[in-house]
């Protein structure tokens, strides 16, 4: 039997077939629809739905490989290039952030690249942090205002910049961290779990350490996430990797699973208040599922260095955003024009692509 009729390609093909038939049907019906005064024409609606799907597919592909939520790419894009209300953008951004993680959960769990115990351990802490962070946001808004938020954003930007630099100089130590001493608490949790690393063709058994430290860090990440309404993938990967010594690819896979799990909590307030408009959000969801599945299959096979370079790019871009936003809030600089954000993004990722090409050539 052809591999196209076996999982995961079978369900991938079914989803694609349903999607194509649905779009063809919408196109044919849309042609004959009469546009009411003040409304949008049928074909324009279908065009937008198709555009959303393709954009979402591309975002998911990159997000899963880097272990980040796609919201970090989706939200600025939508706010920059459309006039869609920011609440709708943020709410749909959560759908974008979580569904690539949810669909990649299957392949990651089957192959062992992600570790459910680490994910549940972190999710339990993340939930507590997110609740506290949301309360903190209310407190700061009342007492410290924009200055407090600006200072915290700049501090975060500096921390992230330091981490990104460490990811550059850390090299192999980041990809496959060495554990010198395992503490008693981590040993008792028994979270380690060997898996088959497809890019190396061997079984990797990774010891873990400082689980208490990562617990505190993830509570902190959850607080920041709840406080700012930020995605947290960029922080969850380095927290696992640098504190608990989780190999980089495993940390990226865990991050995707964790975002899917954690955002099941975060998304419901938006659904219950009507900020997620069903027909508008649907193509974003489908794009995330198909792109996320393909991204997961790629991540299983790529070398850890590839993931490291991609993550460094995202960290520098997030760092730029945090610093400029913080300085704007403090009144030091004016609002950064969108074209500068675009130039910075393109520049960073041009360097990332060149680095990845060089790395792949060097690795043969």
């Amino acid at each position: 039997m052809s591999k196209m009729f076996k999982s995961p390609w079978l369900e991938c093909n079914i989803m694609l077939a349903v999607l194509i038939i649905s779009f063809i049907g919408m196109y044919l019906i849309g042609q004959g629809l009469e546009t009411p005064p003040g409304g949008m024409s049928g074909l324009t609606i279908v065009g937008w739905l198709a555009g959303f799907f393709f954009l979402s597919f591309g975002i998911a592909l990159v997000a899963v490989i880097g272990g980040i939520g796609g919201g970090v790419l989706f939200t600025p894009f939508m706010l920059a290039f459309t006039s869609v209300d920011s609440l709708i953008v943020r709410a749909t951004g959560l759908i974008v952030a979580m569904f690539s993680g949810l669909i990649s959960t299957g392949p990651f769990m089957r192959g062992g690249l992600a570790n459910l115990k680490i994910c549940v351990f972190c999710a339990a802490a993340y939930g507590v942090g997110a609740f506290t962070g949301a309360q903190g946001a209310i407190y700061v808004a009342k007492h410290l205002g924009a200055t407090g938020e600006g200072v915290v954003r700049i501090s975060l930007g500096v921390i992230l910049f330091s981490l990104a630099v460490y990811f550059i100089v850390g090299g192999k130590k980041i990809e496959w961290p060495e554990v010198k001493k395992i503490d008693g608490f981590t040993k008792k949790l028994k979270m380690t779990q060997p898996y088959y690393e497809a890019s190396l063709g061997k079984v990797i058994d990774y010891p873990l350490t400082r689980a208490g430290g990562v617990l505190a860090a993830i509570i902190g990440v959850g607080m920041l996430s709840g406080f700012f309404g930020l995605g947290a993938g960029w922080a969850i990967v380095p927290a696992q990797n640098l504190i608990m010594c989780v190999p980089l690819k495993v940390a990226a896979a865990n991050s995707g699973v964790l975002l899917g799990m954690g955002d099941c909590i975060a998304v419901w307030p938006y659904l219950l208040m009507g900020a997620i408009i069903p027909v508008f959000a649907a193509p974003w969801l489908v794009g995330q599922v198909l792109g996320g599945l393909l991204g997961a299959l790629i991540l299983i096979k790529v070398k850890a260095g590839f993931v490291r370079y991609l993550l460094i790019g995202f960290m520098f871009f997030a760092c730029f955003g945090l610093l400029t936003k913080g300085l704007t809030m403090l009144g030091v600089i004016g609002t950064v024009p969108l074209w500068i954000n675009g130039v910075v993004f393109v520049t960073i990722f041009a360097v990332v692509i060149v680095s990845i090409v060089r790395y792949m050539k060097a690795e043969g």
């Binding site: 369900e11 989803m15 349903v18 649905s22 919408m26 019906i29 629809l33 546009t35 003040g38 409304g39 949008m40 024409s41 609606i45 459309t82 006039s83 209300d85 709708i88 759908i95 569904f99 949810l102 669909i103 959960t105 299957g106 392949p107 769990m109 089957r110 062992g112 459910l116 549940v120 351990f121 999710a123 339990a124 939930g127 949790l189 028994k190 779990q193 060997p194 088959y196 061997k202 079984v203 058994d205 099941c264 909590i265 975060a266 998304v267 419901w268 307030p269 659904l271 219950l272 208040m273 009507g274 997620i276 408009i277 069903p278 027909v279 959000a281 649907a282 193509p283 969801l285 599922v289």
Partner: protein, 139 residues
């Protein structure tokens, strides 16, 4: 360990992964069909797509869109009473996908218990509880 000896994953991990994966696939299929139902009969929606998309791209707030196009927001679980409508059917897919962590974690928690791991049984149920209270609208 040799290359052939691929490690066997614990049941808790496999059960969580499979439930989340397949329910997400079903949610995606529902969300692929939903917009087609919406366009096929634009009157069979709470939010008429012609005015819905016009409102979204005019930058109107969700509250205004629901009020102007649908006569008010019928509640997040409106799909239960409007499953046959285009947007009701699509919302059902969204709700299914957005609650998938709950089903996966409940099943995985019992696997953890069977595996003799009470700590992770409790932690899984804790995260499942957080999702439940969020779904009900308590937080």
């Amino acid at each position: 360990m040799s290359v052939e000896e691929r490690p066997k994953m614990p049941a808790s991990q496999l059960v969580y992964g499979e439930i989340v994966y397949w329910v997400t696939v079903v949610a995606a299929i529902i969300c692929s069909i939903g917009p087609f139902i919406s366009i096929k009969n634009v009157e069979n929606n709470i939010l008429n797509p012609h005015f819905l998309f016009a409102g979204i791209f005019e930058g109107k707030s969700p509250e205004t869109i629901w009020q102007e196009v649908g006569g008010g927001f019928p509640g997040g679980h409106f799909y239960l009473a409007n499953f046959g409508m285009g947007d009701g059917f699509t919302q059902a897919g969204l709700a299914l996908g957005c609650s998938v962590g709950l089903y996966g974690l409940i099943a995985a928690s019992f696997c953890f218990l069977k595996e003799g791991n009470p700590l992770f049984f409790v932690l899984s149920l804790w995260v499942a509880l957080l999702i439940s209270v969020s779904m009900i609208g308590i937080v």
